[in-house]
Structures are given as C-alpha cells and as structure tokens.
Point group: C2
C-alpha cells in the first residue's frame, strides 16, 4: 500500500493542500497553526512518507536532477570528476545522471536529448562536438548548461577548463630547459577537442619559438595502445627515436610506458616522458612521471556553481566568459636529462 499525500491528509483529517504546505515549509507563510503542523509531521514520520518526485517534478517542472555527460566515465579523470560533482550535487539536494559518449558526436546529442526528456534541470558537459551550434542554441534557449574540461572559444557558453595551453607550454619549456631537442607529441584524435588541441599547441609554440618543430602524431581515442605500438615499432626500426615524448593525457602515457617496456627502452634514458593529468602510480614507479595537473576540485566546484546560478536565475541568460584554472607542474624523474 502506497503512502501518498492523500493518505496522510486522510489520517490527519486535513486537506492534502495543507499537508503539502507543511511538508514544504510554507506553514508559517500560510498561517498554519503549530498544532496542525505537528500532527501532520507526526503522521508523516509514522508512515515514513516521502513525496513522489515524479509527481512533484511534473507539477513544478523541477527534477532536482542534473546530467553529467563525459566521453567515458570509466576513465579515472572523469570518474573523479563524477564523484566530486556527485557530492556537490548531493549537498544541494540534487542527483546526478551519468552518460558516456565515447567521443561520439551523435551519441552525445542523443544523450542530451534523453536527459532533457527526463527533465534534468541542467547539464554539465565535457563535449566531443566539433562545432558548438546545437549547444549554443540550447543554452540561448535558456537551458542550464556548463561545459567542463572542454570548451568552445567565443561560443558564449559558460565553461570551466584548465589552462591547457599554458600547461603544454610549461611542459615544453621544462623539457627544453632540460636539454631535450627532439620532442614527439602523442595527441588524441579527434583533435578539435579544445583541451588536447590547446595542450599540443601550447607545447608546440615553445619549441617552434626555439626553432624546433615537434613531430605530432594523432592517436585515435578508441585504439590507443595498438597505434602507439605501431608508431614506436616503426621508429625503433628506423632508429629514429625522439628524445622526449609529451602524452596529452594519462591514458596515452600509460600506453606509451607499456609500449616502451615492450621494446626494452628506458625512461628517461632512451626517451623522456611528460604528460597531462596525474595518476596515483605516476609518483610510485621508477622513474616517477613528470606531469601537469589540473585542480579538479576547483574545476568541479566552479562548474557546479555556474550551473546552480543558471538553474536558479531563470531569466538572465548572459554570455559567459570561459573560466581558466591554472595548472601545476610536478617535476619528477621521467623528464630529467641524464648527462
């Protein structure tokens, strides 16, 4: 037997309107007597009544649910992001529905649609779109949306990202200072994704400013290990190894390390390594891995605030600047030149 607001109202002998008002803390506002409040709450507790969220959402148009869409929730970076956002959301009475896109543009669009039909109050999105048209329309139409990790320059959609370009440059400068002169960039395809694109271009600029043009290879998202293996297989055969490698994310770094060990090559003696985003094991292994890290907690809390702002102030849908959060270089053994 279901416990609905009608049941409560019956038991107490009042209207369900009253019960609703009491439950939603509007008793004072509507001059409901303390006695009545207490009687209602007593029954509510006795029967452990919890309002049906579907009914509530239908009426109010608010679901207290937000959507989080990322390329792959099993990826450690996004998993941590999900966790932090989950906690922030929970503190504000929100739940999180999660979707993974596999970097697939259509899957992303489909997911957005599904979540909107499910009346999520807003979406936090790490987009794999190539252009931002659809997202702009959505945002301009007043749907609460915040981009995280990846943004679209000049699209006017609120976004919170790391200073990826700066991060790439920092790593490049570090390698250059160490005396490395023959860098290879392992970049992820699709390369139009802002984060990896900017990491690469920031990296490139430092070297080209020093008259060195880094080689950049594109690795498809879906088949990292094998492609990295092929690349190094060829380079080993041609005795054409770089003296250092920049992996634009930690999956690439892991694949790279795995491939190197297959070829019995050592870091940093044979090839140095730097990468984006720390992993627990990077500081444990020998050699430990030099990285640039993003302040994930800051990214998440900024993002969540921006979303909440939009959700509460339905009117103002201003253009938003992208927020760039600074990154941190952690120098470890993998990038120290052996003399």
């Amino acid at each position: 037997m279901k416990v609905t607001i009608d049941l409560i109202a019956q038991k107490v002998g009042v209207s369900k309107a009253l019960v609703s008002l009491v439950i939603n803390g509007k008793a004072k506002k509507y001059g409901i007597s303390q006695l009545t409040c207490d009687r209602v709450m007593a029954v509510v507790r006795e029967l452990n009544y919890k309002p049906n969220q579907m009914a509530r959402s239908l009426r109010t148009g608010v679901s207290n649910t937000i959507g989080l869409i990322v390329s792959d929730i099993s990826n450690g970076f996004y998993a941590s992001m999900a966790r932090q956002l989950e906690d922030l959301a929970a503190n504000s009475g929100y739940n999180v529905v999660i979707g993974s896109t596999d970097e697939n543009i259509n899957k992303e669009l489909r997911l957005i649609n599904i979540l909107r039909n499910r009346q999520v109050d807003g979406i936090i999105l790490s987009s794999s779109q190539e252009n931002s048209e659809e997202l702009e329309n959505m945002f301009k139409a007043g749907f609460p949306l915040v981009l995280i990790d990846r943004y679209f320059p000049n699209a006017g959609i609120p976004a919170v990202v790391a200073e990826n370009s700066q991060g790439g440059a920092t790593l490049a400068q570090h390698l250059f200072n160490q005396g490395f002169r023959n860098p290879l960039v392992l970049n992820i395809t699709p390369s139009y994704i802002s984060s990896v694109g900017e990491r690469t271009s920031g990296f490139q600029k430092v070297f080209t400013d020093n008259s060195i043009v880094p080689e950049v290879v594109q690795i498809p998202f879906s088949d990292i290990y094998n492609v990295v293996y092929e690349i190094f297989s060829k380079k080993v055969k041609e005795k054409n190894l770089p003296d250092c490698v920049f992996a634009v994310n930690n999956n690439l770094a892991t694949a790279f390390l795995s491939v190197l060990s297959k070829f019995n090559l050592a870091v940093p003696d044979d090839v140095a390594l730097v990468c984006f985003d720390d992993l627990p094991y990077f500081s444990i292994i020998k050699p430990s891995i030099t990285v640039v890290t993003q302040p994930l907690d800051v990214l998440c809390s900024r993002t969540f605030s921006l979303l909440m702002e939009q959700i509460s102030n339905q009117e103002k849908v201003e253009e938003h600047e992208t927020i760039f959060e600074p990154v941190t270089l952690i120098t470890r053994e993998s990038s120290i030149k052996i003399k």
Copy 2:
C-alpha cells in the same frame, strides 16, 4: 513554447489519446488507420516531440531509470562497473543514477531512499551494510534489487559476486608454492564486507592448512596510505618485515608500493606482493604485479539481467542463489621468489 501531447493532438486534429496510442505503438491494437498514424508521426517529427518522462512515469509508475550505488564511483573498479552497466542499461532504454556511499551504512540507506522516491525501477547495489535486514525487507516487498561485488550469505537477495574466497586461496597457494612463509594481509575495514572478508579468509585457510598463521592488519577505508605507512614504519624499525604481502584490493596495493618505495624496499626482493583486481599499470611497472582479476563484464551483464528479470516479472519474488563468477590468477614478477 513547450511541445506537449496536447499540442500535437491539436495540430493533427485528433485526441491526445490517439496520439499517445500511436506513439506507443498501439495503433494496430486499437484499430487506428494508417493514414492517421502517418499524420500524427509527421507532426511529431516536425515539432520534434518527445514525451515528458515525468508525466509518463507518474502515470505508468515506471521511470526507465535504475540506480547504482557503490562505495566510491571514483574508484577505478566501480567506475568501470558503472560504465558497463550504463551501456547495458542504455541498450535497454534505461538511464543510470549513481550514488557513492563512502562505505557509510547510513549514507547508503539514505541514498536508497532518495533513489526510491525518485522512482527508480530497480537498484544495483554494492552494499556496505553490516546486516541485510533492511535490504531483505525491500527485496521481499518486491522492489527490484541485485547485489553486485558484495553479498549477504543466506539473505535470499539476488547477488553476483566473484569467487573471492577462491581468489584469496589461489594467491595464497601461489605464494606458498613460491616458498613464501611469512605473509601479511592488508585487509580493509570494515571487514564485514563479504568481498574482502572472503578474500582474506580464503587466503588464510591455505596458510593455516600449512601450519602458518598469517598476520592480518585492518586498514580503514578512508585513510589507507597513512595507516599502511605507520604499519611498515613500525615493522621496518623492528626489523620484522613479512616476506610477502596480500593486498585485498588494488588501492591497498598502490599504497603499499608507495610506502615501500619511501622505505627504499624492493618488490619482490624485500617483500613480495600480490593483490586483488588488476590495474593497467600493474603490467607496465617493474616489477609487474601479480593479481587475481574478476570478470567484470560477466559480473555486470549477469547483474543487469537479474535486475531486468525482476523489473519485468513483478509477480515472482523468489529467493535467489548468489551467483559466483570464477576469478583468474595472473602471475607476474612481484611474487616470484628470488633465490
């Protein structure tokens, strides 16, 4: 301007009942003419109408959403689990709402409540409860529930778990065969959690059968690194090191490796290591780490099927046996005795 079923009905010039029937594929059943169907669908497409899920759920009592509750979604194991379940769910038209409990019994109960108020159609749970009373009641009351990774013996709640005991035994036997005689078990608190409990007891049995009683230390979930550090700090001081360590999960193994390197101790020369659940880096590092792995894909698909069964057959709420999936030993360098 919202696109509702009323709008569609108006535009086409039919009742909204008809629109609903057409949309839900019941046109034939209700003898609606092909012409009318086509006219409805044309408008539906033109206005890109998608039914409001809240309204639909309110009416039907079905939300096409399932809940996933784990201790921590940022943990790689659960993140992968989430991803696999998300994909399975998506294929069946379901969304996944995620919650993390931090191994906190009350948080878990609260989350279950919240998800149920949100009318999730069922819950997949990796429980941190000490006893299963509440969960049993829920299940017996007909709420679709499947336990994953952790179960309650004789509770009658459907569960899909790895052969943890067997896994612990396998690792123990491997270590014993390698000649290790002084094992230390790093166990997670709370230890009533079936998975880690059984890993430990399975491990212990093999050694006690060989007249060796392994030392077991309890590490609180929330502060792994520091506690492991303290333990080894003491052991190093007392020159009382074990010759091998069994970490009941990969977080413990990572912390252990980190601590060991702090003390300049080497694996496996000073202390060997085996652990439960593989990580990408375990096969890359020197030495690579011996592990027992769970067939996560099988666990997930079995779990999801069991949940779907319950969701579709509302009547039969039978007692269920726990399903145990076999685990696999991957022998690597960290457990090979140096002569």
